[in-house]
Amino acid sequence: MTIIECTRLTKAYQKGDNTITPLHELDLLVEQGDFLALMGPSGSGKTTLLNLIAGIDRPTGGSLKIGGVDIAKLSRGRLADWRSANVGYVFQLYNLVPVLTAYENVELPLLLHRLTRNERHARVQTALNLVGIADRHDHFPRQLSGGQEQRVAIARAIVTNPAILVADEPTGDLDAESAHTIMLLLTRLNRELGKTLLVVTHDSKCAAFAGRTLHLEKGRLIEAKPPAPPAVPHAVPLSAGAAA
């Protein structure tokens, strides 16, 4: 089933006297449960595409339907509600709130939902267990390593059980070992929880985890053949709906 449908998707914005067009009439279909890697040189439009799909930016042309909803037509407030329910975003620099503990950071998206304190607690614990960071729940971001911070950020992204996870260079600030661990974690979220996953990366090793790799150049799409996905160990089995 198609979950993301981009038709002649265009994004342009003004920078001084110049009009920048990071995406130009891009067509893309993504099936539910796909794991896509978006690659390309700097300025090719990867992050712009990711932001459009995540609903944090708006296209200037074409249409963008996600789960059948044309998100470009949603009001600012409804788009925020839509993001809260449908998308989890993982940033390159984690972007945790420094004055909140790991637990509180993961709890943040749940504060927007009508849940009791106990219900929130159960969901946060599940998400923290899922990413293997439950023992650090009371640590502040400054007390965590980069890999641990990214795990917390992933827990924050999945705690509302969104259908789509987007990650912008999720391993860009990590050492090779941590990067590998994070990619394994994301892969398992895709395979075992059925999350549709879009990852922007410069790193071909990371892209190798994806089922499908898309190359962008100057705002246009060049699809690569799917590489053979690496073996994913199942040291901590994930159960579908565990983050629900």
């Binding site: 712009t48 932001n51 995540a54 944090i56 930016d57 600012r76 407030g77 925020a80 509600d81 993001r83 809260s84 329910a85 975003y89 940033f91 972007n95 709130v97 420094p98 004055v99 909140l100 509180e104 943040l108 998206p109 504060l111 927007l112 304190r117 924050r156 992204a157 509302t160």
Partner: protein, 383 residues
């Protein structure tokens, strides 16, 4: 404004830059202390001078005289005033002050006939001593609680002022502002002890009317009665009389309202500065919150809530400090024998807290609006 579950986030954000927040709160505390002190002054003037339709007390003074030292009326006027239709009672009063000019520490003696004190003291609460002692001893004084507290007088103490030496027989609390800062003595004693006309001469008559709406009519009738006498009179409701006699004080206190506005402007600037700096530090963080689904309106309300917290904490501290100073200082500004009691009552304190919260809201509005209008992607691009 925001759900209770968001309050810990607001508090943590305020505490995030604790030095900045504490300095801001300290500034707000000082400014609100000044604001409440000004409000307490204004409230004192309001209580002492605002007339109402229910006022039934008139003051009969010597025409064109504004000082107790120069207002001299024959005591025998009392009988003629008592016959004016609408007059319920008349009390001749000799007033002696140790300082005619505006001052924070004036001792005012009011000499009244022994029988009249029972009527005057109807609304009093005797805090210590008794009026029986006052009645029994000619040089005794019943002292208002503010004066007693300020000067540390106790029952049995003797004190001297303006050449008058009295013994404290009772200390009382009164709802009437003018009673709280005076010492009531026997009229005959004060006439002898203080000079200024001697026996048979009083400073004023205090008249109660039986029908408050007719007070103005009664006042006119009294003044008409003495218009051609050697000592013509000027009769006014007591609070209007205070407003006239203490005009200097009223004008000065009126001017202090600008000081109060200045304090609020300082609070606004302090809180707004702290909030603006805090918001500028967190442009990316707000973008992240919006990314995970926080509506821009909610982010704006969280920012405004930070302003309210800073305003309320500083405002509460400043208000409490000012109220404590006013309470323990028992300040009264007196002029021409009339007192304005500096009063930080519940109304003043609640006003202070409400103003502090409102200024917090105002201070947060602009940065909150700016933060809520930013586009998420632009915020990430800008960093």
């Amino acid at each position: 404004m925001i759900a209770r579950r968001f309050i810990p986030i607001v508090l943590k954000q305020v505490w995030r830059h604790r030095t900045r927040s504490l300095l801001t709160i300290a500034g707000v505390t000082v400014a609100m202390f000044l604001f409440i002190a000004v409000q307490a002054l204004q409230r004192g003037v309001q209580k002492a001078t605002t007339t109402s339709a229910a006022d039934q007390t008139l003051v009969v003074y010597r025409q064109n005289r504004f000082c107790p030292a120069t207002s001299r009326l024959p005591e025998f006027y009392m009988d003629r005033i008592a016959k004016v239709p609408g007059v319920a009672s008349v009390t001749p009063m000799k007033i002696v002050v140790n300082n005619c000019r505006a001052s924070l520490d004036v001792i005012t003696f009011r000499g009244v006939p022994g029988d009249d004190l029972r009527a005057i003291s109807g609304k009093w609460t005797i805090l210590s001593g008794s009026l029986d002692i006052w009645t029994a001893r000619s040089d005794s004084a019943a002292v208002g609680e503010r004066l007693a507290a300020r000067r540390g007088f106790k029952v049995g103490d003797s004190f001297d002022s303006s050449g008058v030496t009295v013994s404290v027989a009772a200390i009382f609390a009164s709802p009437e502002p003018q009673d709280q800062n005076v010492a009531y003595t026997h009229l005959a004693f004060l006439q002898r002890a203080a000079g200024g006309g001697g026996p048979g001469v009083v400073t004023q008559f205090t008249v109660t009317v039986d029908d408050p709406p007719r007070a103005h009519e009664v006042a006119t009738a009294i003044d008409d009665l003495f218009r051609t006498d050697a000592d013509p009179t000027s009769t006014k409701p007591e609070k209007a009389f205070v407003a006239q006699a203490g005009q200097d004080i009223v004008e000065i206190v009126g001017f202090t309202r600008y000081l109060g506005w200045g304090c609020l402007a300082a609070v606004l600037a302090l809180v707004a500065n702290a909030i603006v700096l805090g918001v500028q530090d967190r442009i990316k963080e707000h973008a992240v919150l919006q990314t995970i689904g926080f509506r821009s309106g909610l982010i704006a309300r969280l920012i405004v809530a930070e302003g309210i917290v800073i305003g309320l904490v500083g405002g509460s501290l400043g208000t409490l400090a000012a109220a404590a100073m006013v309470h323990f200082g028992r300040f009264s500004i007196s002029a021409e024998g009339m007192s304005v009691n500096v009063t930080a009552d519940a109304r003043v304190m609640l006003t202070g807290l409400a103003v502090a919260a409102s200024v917090g809201v105002l201070a947060g509005l602009v940065p909150a609006w700016q933060a809520s209008r930013r586009e998420i992607a632009q915020c990430f691009r800008a960093i």
